[in-house]
């Protein structure tokens, strides 16, 4: 009988805990905005000169990573079909800092030659209202070619998009780790 009381107490406590977690999760959702689609605009390099292959690699890697994160639609810059999409998030990226680095120096000296790129990411809705702004950096410090910095950036930026728009909306839980 004493054990039954303990079990009852444990079950009630655990039920209360689960319920409170669920309520908190519901409260964490910032708005009713549930995006299913994201559009990536061309990478802007206003004042900083960035090689063409870096710009293209940033753009393509970002699209690949966003697709992997589970967005239903990832639209490219200028895609006419994006105009009909509901709850569309538009991602604007502007390069703030770029250091080309040197792959040979990285491999020979290890502590030198890092490639680094810092990009200001702004997520807006279709009307252009800002939803989130954040600086994201991509680096290659040890292994890999210089373009690997674009992959690093894309992974981080897509993770931010996932956390702030997909994970909170609960519309899509098929998170893929890589």
């Amino acid at each position: 009988m004493k054990n039954c009381g303990l079990v009852r107490t444990f079950l009630s406590l655990s039920a209360f805990f689960v319920a409170s977690v669920a309520v908190n999760a519901a409260n964490d959702r910032p708005t009713d905005f549930k995006p299913h689609a994201i559009q990536v605009l061309t990478i802007q390099t206003d004042e900083i000169s960035v090689p063409e292959e870096f710009q293209v690699a940033l753009y393509e890697n970002l699209i690949h990573q966003l697709e992997k994160r589970g967005f239903q639609h990832v639209y490219r810059d200028g895609d006419r079909s994006a105009s009909g999409a509901s709850n569309l998030v538009v991602l604007h990226c502007t390069v703030r800092r770029f250091k080309a680095g040197n792959e040979m120096a990285r491999q020979v000296i290890t502590v030198a030659g890092a490639t680094s790129i810092s990009i200001h990411c702004q997520f807006t809705n279709e009307a252009g209202q800002s939803l989130l702004e954040q600086d994201v950096t991509g680096n290659v410090r040890f292994f890999g070619g210089n373009l690997r910095a674009t992959y690093d950036f894309a992974k981080k930026a897509s993770k931010i998009a996932y956390k702030n728009f997909l994970a909170t909306s609960g519309s899509n839980r098929q998170y893929k780790t890589n």
């Binding site: 090689p51 292959e53 293209v56 200028g78 080309a100 040979m104 491999q107």
Partner: protein
């Protein structure tokens, strides 16, 4: 018989001269170039190897699994550049990092020059795509010229060389609209 032999001897220096002339080689190889698609072609894996040609107003990338075409008219930017990569790469290069007395680092000093070809184009829906190819040194410029002749556009990137590493420079300066 003697006249035939003289004619043959006269042709030999000409053949040797043709074989030794790198420009003639470049013209012949500009028709097709072995290339590696780094990223961007829809349905093609990263670092896919194949052959790049410009035919009938299209950029063809032929690989083991199939063919990818990009219409030259849809290309809004094509930029050729120069880069370098490890002469000993992939698995052997990775394994060499464990070699004693800095053997792997020593191997990293040996690098080979490569060309990069960056292509930006729009598909039927107007969506922007970007593709990066690498190919042996000296090939990208000829492919780019072929694309420009076929109707592709390019953009001036003269200021890019200021931000690149010493081994890398942009070789695209002209503008064609």
């Amino acid at each position: 018989m003697i006249t035939k032999g003289k004619r043959f001897l006269g042709i030999v220096p000409l053949l040797v001269a043709i074989a030794a002339n790198p420009e003639i080689h470049a013209q012949q190889s500009s028709e097709s170039a072995k290339a590696v698609q780094i990223i961007g072609l829809p349905g093609v894996k990263e670092n896919a190897k194949g052959t790049l040609t410009v035919e009938n107003g299209n950029l063809h990338f032929v690989r083991n699994g199939g063919v990818s075409d990009i219409s030259a008219a849809s290309i809004q930017a094509v930029v050729a550049g120069i880069d370098s990569q490890k002469a000993v790469g992939k698995t052997v290069g990775a394994m060499s990092m464990a070699a004693p007395y800095g053997g792997g680092r020593f191997l990293s000093l040996f690098r080979k020059k490569i060309d990069t070809l960056t292509v930006e184009y729009r598909d039927a829906d107007g969506a922007l795509h970007g593709v990066i190819f690498t190919m042996p040194s000296g090939k990208a410029e000829s492919v780019k010229k072929d694309l420009l002749v076929a109707g592709a556009h390019t953009k001036a990137t003269a200021d890019q060389s200021t931000t690149r590493e010493p081994t890398t420079r942009s070789s695209c300066t002209e503008v064609k609209q």
